[in-house]
């Protein structure tokens, strides 16, 4: 029972603190409460992880929630990035307030929605019910719509509207996919409430009707793929990242995309069992490559720094989708590792970018110059983060990209030139733009609240460590999750 309590606590903390932050409003200690709540969530997630490592997969609340080695890894990552983002957002949001960009009411909205967003993410990750997974994904969109439009500028409203409509359309397709999945399952499992429970579905996946499952997986992939940022329905992503406040960009990139991809992976396991062959994998490889190529070539056209890194997120999501599409223990391992690396690195970059844009007073890359001179720590943070995300050794992104590339060379040699081309173009574009921003002449001013630097370097340190040495239990954990993905 003790473990159950940990799980319930993990879900209850963000929900309760979200409500609490709404009620008490913007007090002096509200940012601290936000940090403490996120910290407690992470602590609960860590305890839960320890429990899963020692005792194996478990159910919670009847069979409604299911935690295994695959989702517990996402849960820890989500709770960790949530915690560091809340630390980062404390001084960042205060600065925005002092600059007059945000009113007190909007700071309150931000904090409560941030906690509710964490709640929906954790529900989506741990639910055993494919229907509830959909509900939680849609709820995650709803909590972030008002965050994207937090500045109430015409551009941010446009971005939020686009985000809502495109993701709404996407997620509606995922619902149709879920209905078809239920239809296929009902014929095998009967008309019980259990027919959408993943643990039941995975046992009978060989008996699910292939023709229905083909259609169901296509709808699920396109639907959840919209939220992952897969081309051609990726248009919402750069706008939402560029126009929303930076902490929101960090959690959208670092967490929401991962959770959406997680939903695709759960569906893929079922589709593989029912359809057989490489249908689902090939579809994912195709979408992945298309996304990767498109993003690599759009990167160079960006003038806004957050837009550019948003396209970089699309690029990496394409690469990860491609990796999972290849399938097999090695490629799945690489995909999971890359998801972790991307989450940590990209959120660290957004933290650094947030402080850099606040210092420079603009998001236009042409006007951001000489970050090392005004604040060496932020300057170097951005530089190191950029090097890490571009896959320079010894950072962890290099390890996962190297694994994906070598695996592709061995089994899908035709894809190698495309991968190399896209990664090369992305490298040249991003590095060429970040370099003058970090070094170069400047005349920017100091900020009223000292920026939170710890999260940036904490993330980068973990990425660096994982590039050099992955702890054995983490390897085991990744391997087990990779095996489950088939």
């Amino acid at each position: 029972m003790a473990e159950l309590d940990i799980f319930v606590a993990m879900l209850a903390i963000p929900l309760v603190s979200g409500a609490l932050l709404t009620v008490i409003g913007e007090r002096k200690w509200a940012p601290n409460l936000n940090v403490i709540a996120s910290g407690c969530t992470f602590f609960a997630a860590a305890l839960l992880t320890a429990d899963i490592i020692t005792n194996g997969p478990r159910f919670a609340m009847g069979e409604q929630f299911f935690i295994d080695s695959m989702n517990v890894f996402f849960v820890t990552l989500t709770a960790f990035v949530g915690m560091t983002t809340s630390i980062f957002s404390g001084p960042y949001m205060k600065n925005e307030h002092e600059h007059g960009r945000l009113t007190v009411a909007r700071l309150r909205l931000y904090k409560s929605m941030f906690q509710l967003f964490m709640f929906t993410m954790l529900v989506a990750l741990t639910t055993n019910n494919m229907g509830i997974l959909w509900v939680a994904m849609e709820a995650a969109t709803l909590t972030t719509v008002l965050l994207v439009s937090l500045y109430r500028t015409p551009a941010s409203l446009e971005a939020a509207w686009k985000y809502f409509i495109l993701c709404g359309v996407g997620i509606a397709q995922a619902l149709f996919g879920t209905i078809l999945l239920y239809f296929a399952a009902e014929r095998v499992l009967g008309e019980t409430g259990n027919a959408l429970l993943w643990t039941h579905l995975v046992e009978v996946r060989g008996e699910l009707d292939p023709s229905i499952m083909v259609l169901s997986f296509i709808f699920l992939l396109v639907g959840y793929g919209t939220k992952v940022g897969l081309a051609p329905l990726h248009n919402w992503l750069p706008d939402a990242h560029a126009e929303g406040p930076t902490p929101v960009s960090a959690v959208l990139s670092g967490l929401l995309l991962n959770v959406a991809l997680y939903a695709v992976l759960r569906s893929k396991v079922l589709a593989d069992g029912a359809i057989g062959g490489d249908f689902a994998g090939n579809l994912m490889m195709g979408f992945g490559l298309l996304t990767l190529l498109m993003a690599a070539f759009f990167l160079g056209r960006q003038k806004d720094i957050k837009r550019m890194f948003a396209y970089s997120s699309i690029e990496h999501m394409g690469l990860i989708t491609f990796a999972f599409g290849m399938g097999g223990a090695v490629a799945n391992f690489a995909g999971l590792l890359h998801m972790t690396m991307h989450s940590l690195t990209k959120s660290a970059i957004f933290f650094a970018v947030g402080h850099a844009t606040q210092k420079s007073g603009t998001q236009l890359m042409a006007d951001i110059r000489g970050l090392v001179r005004i604040n060496p720590v932020i300057g170097w943070g951005l530089m190191l983060g950029t090097l890490a995300i571009l896959g320079m050794p010894p950072f962890g992104v290099f390890a996962s990209e190297f694994m994906i590339l070598t695996h592709a060379m061995k089994y899908h040699p035709w894809a190698t030139p495309i991968l190399l081309l896209a990664l090369g173009v992305a490298f040249a574009q991003i590095f060429g733009k970040v370099q003058p921003m970090v070094f170069g002449e400047t005349h920017a001013k100091r900020l009223p609240h000292a920026p939170a630097i710890t999260p940036v370097f904490l993330h980068l340190a973990i990425v660096l460590m994982l590039g050099l040495w992955i702890p054995p239990y983490l390897t085991r954990w990744f391997q087990e999750a990779a095996r489950m993905l088939g």
Binding site: Q64, N129, G131, I132, W134, V135, E138, A139, L142, V145, L146, S149, R152, T153, P154, A155, L157, E158, A159, A160, W161, K162, F164, I165, G168, V169, A172, L175, F176, T178, I179, L180, Y182, F183, E186, R187, E191, G193, A195, L196, D209, S211, I212, L215, P238, D239, A242, E243, F298, R301, Q302, K303, R307
Partner: protein, 222 residues
């Protein structure tokens, strides 16, 4: 098709056809108020068809579904939308729809595609209402067209909700409805979504002095 189709199945098919007709009517409707009324009517027919499925099959949870549909889609959501329209003073907001005949033709083609896609799956289904799966998919697609062709915010949202209607029809026609907990979750999401959008409309109007989405074309690449 066998010669004898049970009366209940005929009634369900009739309801589904009316829902499809309403989807076409919404596609061509210029006035916002009328559009919302059409949406409410669609919700009502959807509730009716769910009720008929419930009575014929004796599936108890479908009664709750029907009740939920009536409360949410035929009464609450149209009421919220009406209030919004009145508060935002967009009653006179008549859209200049380009090329209604072309849109209709595209819609007809989509209906044919939807029927073809749904055909093999309908044959596998055992439910009395299996024939309506194609119609459900067609309703989803027509709503999608509506979202693409409209330039005003409220009609786009009505399109979004009509899409949800189509999905609900698919759920009842292929499977006698999703598990209750999922249906409640979906209903909650839709309701919260409309409330958030209500807040959002005011923000848009304050910034743009209009609910015309075509003003919002500033964000572009490069």
């Amino acid at each position: 098709m066998s010669a004898i189709i049970p009366l209940s199945a005929q009634l369900i098919n009739l309801c589904a056809s009316v829902i499809l007709l309403l989807a076409f009517a919404m596609l061509a409707q210029r006035r916002v108020m009328q559009l919302i009324n059409l949406f409410a009517l669609q919700g009502l027919v959807l509730c009716l068809s769910t009720l008929i499925v419930a009575v014929t099959t004796g599936q108890h949870h479908l009664y709750y579904s029907a009740g939920l549909t009536l409360a949410l889609k035929a009464i609450l959501l149209p009421w919220i939308l009406h209030r919004l329209v009145r508060k935002l003073y967009v009653k006179w907001d008549v859209e200049s729809l380009v090329n209604v005949p072309t849109t209709m033709l595209v819609g007809v083609v989509l209906v044919m595609i939807a029927f073809n896609v749904a055909q093999p799956i309908s044959l596998l289904s055992q439910t009395v209402s299996r024939g309506t799966l194609g119609i459900a998919l067609a309703v989803v697609m027509l709503a999608f067209v509506m979202m693409i062709t409209r330039t005003k915010a409220i009609p786009q949202v009505v399109g979004f909700l009509a899409m949800e209607n189509g999905l609900f029809l698919a759920a009842t026609s292929a499977t006698y409805g999703m598990p209750m907990v999922v249906e409640l979750g979906i209903a909650l999401d839709v309701l919260v979504g409309v409330i958030i959008l209500g807040v959002f409309f005011f923000q848009i109007r304050d910034q743009f002095d209009s609910l015309d989405i075509s003003h919002m074309e500033k964000l572009k690449d490069g």
